[in-house]
């Protein structure tokens, strides 16, 4: 049995029947990481002591005949922007290269309380800023489908880890598509809940009003299980919602006949055939499942990228002010005076993309420009959210491609930030509206080797169950291998 190819329910049935132990599961994953990860570079650091200690606890509980916790014995990879007490939390930045987190993020605390084994921390774009994981200060992660290509980003390490079977599930963060886009490019399932569904406590802030913590998995069921564990109100995050959390694994099995699916025309303008054809076939599958597919319009879509990059950079410029060399993290050597300490520390500690966004954000918040940029972007954000609300009067789920392009070659877009920003074109709208979204594999391109294509499903606020239901029906009807 390949212990690295299992779903959560397969793991649980194996643990229950004593086919293998949690410790064996953890060791199998560390061995595979040892073998494979030098090529993929999904992980920045590993935590075998912590994972094995937890595995022993799980095995002891099983030996005592206790019922299995929801993630008991399930290995998990954690994006390195989530704090893990006693472990490095670098944000893939030189600024935090030696930072050991003094506390656990709420999401991490919850998965461990549910029995998960934290294998290590995964690579990402520095401070989650990027769409290819090339902005990591340490090394780029490679796409397991084609090692010459990027895994997407910013949660590229988590997506690649799950795709390469270096972990069955992973935690990532999504601000403008950072879970959904790499999930699409790596051929796995990735989900962003409603804003406020999952606590942000302990997630290193990039853009607070857009940041989400969310799950990756190789099946819809695994994503549903992981979301169920991390979702729910957290008193430490004032923006987390008190809306009750449904039993997602149960809810996802509901029938989809009669489900109304909207397909927004704005998301298909000029779309390449490589992506478009796969999505069309995906839409057909939903028709065959008895769903009603309707064309819809989200008229303010064109403004989304500009709006997103104003709001997220504005918030980032403020959120990243705390990396000043005073209390923790990198402090540049050889400065005279406070001003120079700030300048040298921030110049030496941040990479080019982070600096670009801090400068953009500082600019759009400056007096005299605030109204023209930040305030206007907030108004556009409201209009984009309204587009969705109106669309959801007629449909239950909105279906789009996740990314306009499949995985691109390393280095291909690094010199053109604007092209890189456009990779988020289909994902930022849901982030701005605060609605939940999921990306599921939907066929592949004719490249050699073939590259995964992702389909994005969006739903009303707090209607994650509907997304999982549609995604699960799609998965059941034909698997993810070919649409």
């Amino acid at each position: 049995m390949d212990l690295c190819a299992l779903t959560i329910s397969e793991i649980h049935s194996g643990l229950g029947r004593k086919q293998f132990s949690a410790e064996e599961l953890a060791r199998a994953h560390f061995e595979r990481i040892e073998r494979e990860d030098s090529a993929v570079r999904a992980y920045l650091s590993l935590s075998p002591e912590r994972a094995l200690a937890q595995a022993k606890k799980v095995d002891a509980a099983i030996a005592r005949g206790e019922p299995l916790a929801p993630l008991a014995g399930v290995p998990i990879a954690v994006k390195d922007v989530l704090l893990t007490r006693g472990l490095p939390t670098t944000c893939a930045s030189k600024m935090l290269a030696h930072f050991i987190a003094p506390y656990d993020a709420t999401a991490v605390e919850r998965v461990e309380a549910a029995g998960a084994l934290v294998l290590g921390k995964t690579n990402c774009d520095e401070f989650a800023m990027g769409s290819s994981t090339e902005n990591s200060a340490f090394a780029p992660t490679r796409n397991p489908s084609d090692l010459t290509r990027v895994p997407g980003g910013s949660s590229g390490g988590s997506a690649a880890a799950v795709a390469a079977r270096l972990a069955p599930i992973a935690l990532g963060s999504d601000t403008g598509g950072s879970i959904r886009q790499p999930a699409a490019l790596c051929g796995v399932v990735g989900m962003m809940g409603t804003y406020g569904r999952v606590s942000r406590y302990g997630l290193v802030a990039f853009a607070s009003s857009l940041d989400h913590v969310g799950p990756f998995g190789r099946s819809v069921g695994d994503v549903a299980r992981l979301l169920g564990v991390i979702a729910g109100r957290d008193p430490k995050d004032s923006t987390s919602a008190g809306v009750p959390v449904p039993d997602y694994p149960a809810a996802m099995e509901a029938d989809v006949r009669g489900l109304k699916i909207g397909v927004p025309k704005e998301y298909f303008n000029g779309l390449s055939a490589a992506i478009g054809d796969n999505i069309e076939r995906g839409i057909d599958r939903f028709r065959k499942l008895g769903c009603a597919v309707k064309p819809i319009s989200l008229p303010h879509t064109d403004f989304a990228i500009a709006c997103y990059y104003i709001i997220c950079t504005a918030e980032a410029s403020s959120n990243l002010a705390r990396y000043d060399g005073v209390r923790f993290g990198y402090r540049a050597p050889g400065f005279s005076g406070l001003r120079e300490m700030y300048q040298k520390t921030r110049d030496g500690g941040f990479g080019p993309e982070v600096k670009r966004r801090i400068m953009l954000g500082t600019y759009v918040l400056s007096s005299g420009y605030y109204d023209a940029y930040y305030l206007k972007a907030q108004r556009v954000r409201t209009l984009i959210a309204r587009d969705f609300l109106e669309a959801f009067d007629d449909v239950d789920v909105i279906l789009t491609p996740t990314s306009p392009i499949p995985a691109f070659k390393l280095g291909e877009r690094m010199d053109d930030p604007l092209q890189m920003y456009l990779a988020d074109i289909y994902t930022v709208t849901a982030s701005l509206a605060g609605i939940p979204g999921i990306s599921i594999p939907c066929g592949s391109t004719r490249d050699n080797p073939p590259l995964p294509v992702g389909m994005q499903l969006l739903a009303r606020h707090f209607d994650e169950a509907r997304l999982l239901q549609a995604a699960r029906a799609f998965e059941r009807a034909g698997g993810f291998e070919a649409a």
């Binding site: 989530l82 704090l83 506390y103 406590y201 430490k236 923006t239 403020s318 002010a321 005073v326």
Partner: protein
Amino acid sequence: MAQETQLAPEVRSRYEAVIGLEVHVQLLTRSKIFCSCSTRFGDPPNSHVCAVCLGLPGALPVLNREAVSMAVKAALALNCAVNPQSRFARKNYFYPDLPKGYQISQYDEPLAEHGWLEIDSGEQMRRIHITRVHLEEDAGKSLHEGFADSEEKSYIDLNRAGVPLIEIVSEPDLRSPEEAYEYLTQLKTVILYLGVSDCNMEEGSLRVDANVSVRPSGAEKLGTKTEVKNLNSFRYLQKALAYEVERQIVVLEAGGGIEQETRLWDSRAQKTLGMRSKEFAHDYRYFPEPDLLPLAVPEVWREEVRRTIPELPRAKEARFESECALPKQDAKLLAASPATANFFEAAAKLSGEPKSSANWILNDLAFLLQEMGKSLEDSPVSADQLAELIVLYRDGKISSKIGKEILRTMARTGKRAADIIAEQGIEQISDSGKIVAVVRDVITANPRQAEQFRSGKTATLGWFVGQVMKATNGQANPQKVREVLEKELAPR
């Protein structure tokens, strides 16, 4: 410099000062505004810090409900309209004692607006309008002095980072440094009454910045203002404002213009010094704080807070004047702090003698405390002890002279008045028999003076009283002595 010359009064009178104050008040919550760290003052540096107030990555603020209640209480007492919804905003700037690189404050949607505070401007009461009251977090403290390596290093204490503050901004309604002083005094009194701050200026729980401009008397248009900082005592406030007003007049009289800038009061040099001109003014890049929801203060909460507001100084003063028949000046002095007012009310109630209580507190006790370097809060004589003394005096058990001495002994020993009297045998002699005997002795010993009195020189009576008092070591009841003397000296 020309500024150092005294301005001629006729020049000064051609100008009017326009002053507005921005007052920061630290709230007396037990924990900080966005985390559960203690707010206690004076503990070792960085002993009350956590991930949130250190600004560690990933930490998020959670608003302290008590801080909001206290701020609402202050806003209501200052006659403000409390906004049903307000919003926190980030004020961005770099400074080592500002852990997050931004301060969570309120900007264009403050907690409360449109209030006023009445001040006594000498001849009449004036309403000073209050623009806004908003909530924010305090920064930490930079320590630039007092360490062996202070030459090359600064130290940072973040115990204060995240302590809740309210900022109270007045309209530019104040017309003189004296009025500014009176406004701040009145504001402090109200806040002390509310119990939401200790307003301790030395510990920094009350901080004041002033916006100052001048204009020709009678002009409508406001002059260019400067912001004066570092006014960390009431005395400095008045001095700094007087200096700044004069400075501006001198500049204008010399045909110059006022530069919009921030100026620092230098108490050693006794002048304000330019710190930062407008071109170098900070751009704080305010924007709504995305980590906190808008702050809702529904009517129910607001009214619940309103019910906890005690009787305020103005009302108390008026009541002391009417109910206790005290002179206006005494009523004002007694209402000037909650400690004094409470002490007075307790003594008046227990003794049933408000007028006498006021006199004892404002004169004898105040004098004694001043001598001992103490305040009424740590008075060695409690209100009920004073009330006992007042009752003994009223009942003629002691004379006022003896009373003053007993008060002194009470303060020194902590004993009660009755015990001191019993120990020292200094109870007033009101027994007629004893007094008659002494009076007869005195008259017998002074036949000439007695004859003078009988022949119509009634002024001699005072002299006789003095003699009797002397003979009784001051213990005789002077009223009684007078009565007995009149009878005994009467021509028979």
